[in-house]
């Protein structure tokens, strides 16, 4: 355990650490572009310059091993002057088109420029022109003029996603990040992470391109329901205080983008592309109207009918959703567990073309909470549970083939999305989705993560946890 001194402050470092790692572990900030905690050291941006006391030159913190008694200065005059020069060089050929750049507001280059330079460019010469809107893959466009060639994206595809999809061609200030010719970036299910780790606005997400300014957006922590990994994510949506009145009001309650929420226990700083496309799951047409045999009724009427059906039934079977939160599953178990033979249903199966499983993040179980559901409800065989005597089937969530319901049984269906089956059920009750409530999921490793509501729930839609309490009220005998 060597002890080093950063700006005079004694710091305990690990033997194999670099100055950058030791400083970060002790809450001391050293700026960086190309360095990334999960990637190899490239040492090309040079902004992490530090000075070793009594030396007349700078070193780079990301590649400087610690040694006993090392005296590091992160803020000396020499370091400041050097960082200023690096920022001048970084922005030399940068188009400074922040006004139309999606990264603006969360751009490292922008922040560091104000922090370490702040002056107008010393250059009076024309900038190097390069490719704009280069289609790197179906999901990603590249603006080479904004690129600072930190090589993070290249290293990501080599070291993390292992698709080797990217490389740098040409040299000097004509260098270009380019995808390999057989376009493996399209097949890389983790490709969009390079947009997050790009320190500037060079790599841009096509679905998010020019969609919103990030300062109008707010991130809400959530969990990706796409598979049993349960990666923690941030769902970005419009800040309520910046509500749009004139334009399409749906923009106020739409998912603008999804980014990973760093979580060392589950996904680290990465998520897969499916997690970026949560809008494809959550923004399908919603069911917002309670129904009885296809006829619209008030939510309270539907709940009352369902409660009567449950109380009347002799042999009832429930198909429990593995998209229910821990709280909802527990409420079902407590309130209705005794009244039903409960079976855990697989709400989602792998879609055609989807990566089934890999050795990084993606799991073959495409549901978020199977672990918690199986812990509460024994995994019975559906065929064994449904018998001719079954007179009530409660289906919670998607993914059930209604043809399997015995002909005489009545159906209560709790679902969030518009589907033809909604109208076939004896009672249909619309329920809220993940972005409208608070809860927890247990992932396949048993790690519990939380999700928060992004948008308000409509009053015509029930919250499942409250609904189970109402459905469990016993029939009062008429006096």
């Amino acid at each position: 355990m060597p002890q080093i001194f950063i700006n005079g402050q004694p710091v305990e470092a690990e033997r194999d650490q670099t100055v950058m790692q030791a400083a970060r572990a002790n809450g001391i900030f050293i700026p960086y572009f190309c360095w990334h905690p999960e990637l190899s050291v490239a040492g090309n941006c040079r902004i992490c310059a530090i000075q070793i006391e009594d030396r007349s030159w700078v070193e780079i913190a990301c590649n400087m091993p610690v040694s006993e008694g090392l005296k590091v200065l992160t803020d000396s005059d020499m370091v400041k002057a050097y960082r200023k020069s690096i920022m001048q060089l970084m922005t030399l050929n940068h188009p400074v088109d922040c006004g139309i750049c999606d990264k603006s507001g969360e751009c490292t280059l922008q922040d560091y420029h104000y922090k370490y330079n702040g002056a107008p460019s010393m250059s009076r010469d024309v900038k190097v022109r390069s490719t704009k809107f280069h289609p790197l893959s179906e999901r990603i466009v590249l603006d080479n003029e904004r690129c600072i060639l930190c090589s993070r994206c290249v290293r990501f595809t080599r070291e993390i996603s292992k698709s080797n999809a990217l490389g740098i061609t040409q040299r000097g200030d004509a260098s270009l990040v380019r995808a390999a010719e057989d376009r493996p970036l399209d097949a890389d299910p983790y490709s969009d992470n390079i947009i997050d780790i790009c320190p500037v606005g060079a790599l841009l997400s096509r679905p998010f391109l020019y969609k919103a300014r990030v300062w109008y957006l707010k991130p809400t922590s959530s969990i990706c329901p796409g598979c049993a990994r349960g990666c923690t994510v941030q769902i970005w949506h419009r800040k309520p205080e910046w509500k749009l009145n004139a334009l399409d009001p749906r923009k106020n309650v739409s998912i603008e983008r999804v980014t990973p929420l760093e979580n060392p226990a589950v996904n680290g700083p990465w998520i897969c592309n499916k997690g970026r496309d949560l809008a494809l799951i959550f923004e399908r047409p919603r069911a917002e109207q309670a129904m009885q045999k296809g006829q619209a009724v008030a939510l309270s009427v539907a709940i009352e009918t369902a409660r009567r059906l449950i109380n009347k039934a002799k042999h009832s079977v429930a198909l429990v959703s593995n998209w229910g939160s821990n709280e909802e599953l527990k409420a079902f178990k407590q309130m209705l567990g005794g009244r039903f033979t409960a079976i855990v249903k697989q709400d989602w199966l792998p879609q055609p073309g989807e990566v089934i499983e890999d050795d990084f993040l993606i799991r073959s179980d495409k549901n978020p909470n199977t672990t918690a559901a199986w812990a509460l409800f024994p995994s019975l065989d559906l065929g064994g549970a449904l018998a001719d005597t079954t007179d009530l089937v409660l289906v919670w969530g998607e993914g059930f083939d209604f043809a399997r319901v015995p002909p005489k049984a009545r159906i209560i269906f709790l679902n969030s999305y518009l589907q033809p089956e909604n109208g076939h059920a004896d009672v249909f009750i619309p329920i809220s989705i993940q972005t409208e409530r608070r809860g927890h999921y247990t992932n396949f490793q048993g790690t519990v993560s939380a999700f928060e509501p992004c948008f308000p729930k409509k009053s015509s839609v029930a919250d499942a946890e409250e609904l189970f309490v109402l459905l469990a009220i016993p029939e009062v005998e008429p006096a």
Binding site: N44, V58, I86, N93, M122, R124, L149, D173
Partner: protein, 432 residues
């Protein structure tokens, strides 16, 4: 001959590069001596004692470089000869490759024995045609004669050699960039630490030496360190192959013993300036070394100490002679165009700085220079100094600062008058 020669000891004939001729000169006898009577550590010690310095430009002690390799670390070691001679003005290794390829091969075998290397490499500049053909033929001859492969000369020593042709990049002449290229990757130089002698080719300890440095090894082992030290000066032992070009009467490759007076070399050995012009400036060792004025040249001897006292260095021995009447602004333009073209683009100061300097000097030459341009060139040079992954950014800075420090008035004249102080282009003029 400027002093006693170490390498240019035989007359160059149509067959002097062949194995038969090399053997007739006593070739491969040193290899026999080394393998049969010396321990690997003894060889490294001998090279260390001889004080052999790197001849590629940095003048780092070869013995110290070899000494870092731990012979008992139970992992493969590699040896690589840097024949990617790309420094403008330098063409001395080419002489060895063309005329004494077996000297290089024998020296490499001795070095491989000293460093316990099973696989050695020669990274040869892609543009070299005859040198490559001669080297490839020499390797074939040496294999056929049993100097490479398994059980060399009937001993347990085994070594294979591969000549790998570069694709024409200046930065691939930098040792770590060379190894990246040799690994089949983009020729990006690497960050130190780790040093290449700790983690080089394929992440194994690797010694990369210049061709001329290695070529001296055979002589040192044959005749001993004391013999080698009898050449040159106390602190700069040995000789340097100098490739001289520019406004000189007899350009070419000369072997100069360290300590030889530079003016004497120019005026006597090389026949003086072309058409008797006055010497304006001299770039002593490739364009990355700082320029010397004609006056400075008169008092300098050709060795590391004297040249570094004069603010320059021996560099790679690529001497460029510049006669009175040459426009230094255009000279710097040519140099900066080269550095801009050859910057690999990996780290920020060089990638952005080289292009910027090139654009500034182009603008000055186009007659659109501004007063602040010269300070800007110096700023960019300083930003590069010691702050880049490899030495290329520094080298461009040294060259720029060197010229601006000594010929600033020419640049100011150019900016003020929108034309050179020297009308026309000396290189195109035929003097009467």
């Amino acid at each position: 001959m400027p002093g006693k020669p170490l390498l240019m000891t035989f007359p160059v004939t149509a067959t002097s590069h062949t194995l038969a001729d090399y053997r007739a000169r006593g070739g491969y006898g040193t290899l026999v001596k080394a393998i049969s009577s010396m321990q690997p550590a003894d060889i490294t010690k001998e090279v260390s004692t001889a004080g052999l310095l790197g001849h590629g430009g940095a003048a780092f002690s070869a013995g110290r470089k070899w000494g870092v390799v731990n012979l008992n670390d139970r992992q493969p070691h590699y040896l690589c000869a840097n024949a990617d001679e790309g420094e403008p003005g330098t063409f001395k290794d080419r002489w060895i490759l063309e005329n004494a390829p077996h000297l290089l091969l024998e020296s490499m075998l001795i070095a491989a024995y000293a460093l316990q290397v099973r696989h050695a490499f020669i990274y040869i500049r892609g543009e070299f045609d005859v040198p490559y053909q001669r080297l490839a033929a020499a390797i074939e001859e040496a294999y056929a004669a049993g100097y490479f492969g398994e059980r060399i000369l009937g001993t347990d020593f085994a070594c294979d050699i591969v000549a790998y042709r570069g694709a024409g990049s200046y930065v691939c002449g930098e040792a770590s960039g060379l190894l990246s290229s040799l690994e089949g990757k983009r020729g990006y130089p690497r960050n130190r630490p780790p040093r290449l002698t700790v983690q080089g080719l394929y992440k194994r300890p690797t010694v990369v030496n210049n061709v001329e440095t290695l070529a001296n090894v055979a002589g040192i082992i044959a005749n001993g360190a004391a013999w080698y030290k009898s050449f040159g000066t106390a602190k700069s032992p040995g000789t340097q192959l100098v490739s001289i070009s520019g406004h000189i009467a007899t350009p070419g490759v000369y072997e100069v013993e360290y300590g030889y007076p530079l003016a004497k070399f120019l005026y006597e050995d090389c026949g003086g300036m072309v058409h008797g012009r006055k010497l304006k400036a001299l770039i002593p060792g490739g364009i990355s070394t700082k320029v010397l004025t004609g006056a400075e040249v008169q008092s300098v001897t050709f060795d590391h100490q004297s040249l570094s006292a004069a603010g320059s260095s021996v560099g790679s021995g690529g001497m460029i002679v510049i006669a009175e009447g040459t426009c230094m602004v255009r000279l710097l333009q040519v140099m900066l165009r080269f550095y801009h073209h050859e910057s690999c683009g990996q780290c920020t100061p060089c990638r952005e700085g080289m292009g910027w300097m090139h654009r500034i000097i182009d603008r000055v030459v186009a007659g659109e220079g501004r007063a602040e341009d010269l300070d800007r060139l110096i700023d960019i040079s300083r930003w590069n100094d010691g702050n880049t992954i490899c030495g290329m950014g520094d080298a461009a800075g040294y060259a720029t600062i060197g010229i601006l420090a000594k010929f600033r008035d020419e640049f100011e004249y150019f900016i003020a008058n929108k034309r050179s102080r020297f009308d026309g282009n000396l290189e195109c003029l035929r003097s009467s």
